[in-house]
Amino acid sequence: MNNQIKISDQPLNIQSCIDWVMTPQSGGINIFIGTVRNATKGKIVMRLEFEAYEAMALKEMHKIAEKAFSKWPVQKLLIHHRIGVLKVGEVPVIIGVSCAHRDAAFEACRYIIDTLKETVPIWKKEIFEDGEVWVAAHP
């Protein structure tokens, strides 16, 4: 298998993602790690809560992977997304791409995270000291 796509309620393991994506043919791997930030627009974030429409989210993630394989000479590709309650500094998403050359790895990795944020049915709620908000829901 040259792709590994999963949604998990357990902490993501950065090192094992790097190990999985690397191949002897790779000249470079590109890893994007999303992390929980401590503030939004000056307000302190206590935690994030992620929720997925899991069957559809996996399907959309597989579509993104197929597209990336067709657009760039990608050797291996990994998308892991975590759901549930995450504290500041924890990791909700890891994207990993290996290619013979770096340009394709950078471009494919960027394409994957940008498209994931647009199409994959996963939602996050920011919990502040004085309230909570579903991100991107309202203008």
Partner: protein, 80 residues
């Protein structure tokens, strides 16, 4: 016909639960479903946008629905 509609994210808050049942005419479309839901839950109209998914695929407004379809409301996504 009765269509069971799954809700996620803020749609769950708006519906007050993770699914709602909607009565639609036979040959009802995604557009009919949206209208019916917006009458019942006006807060839906305040969202930036929302999509309907049918059997795990984004559906157009003209898509025909049946009672056997898995239908879901997809508010603006915010993963990553």
């Amino acid at each position: 016909m009765k269509v069971n509609v799954l809700a996620f994210g803020i749609a769950k808050d708006i519906f007050g639960g993770s699914s709602v049942e909607v009565e639609l005419p036979e040959q009802g479309t995604t557009q009919n479903l949206k209208q019916s839901l917006e009458e019942r839950y006006p807060r839906l109209k305040h969202l930036v946008s929302y999509m309907v998914a049918v059997n795990n695929e984004y559906a157009s407004d003209e898509s025909l629905l049946t009672e056997r379809d898995e239908v879901a409301i997809i508010p603006p996504v915010s993963g990553g």
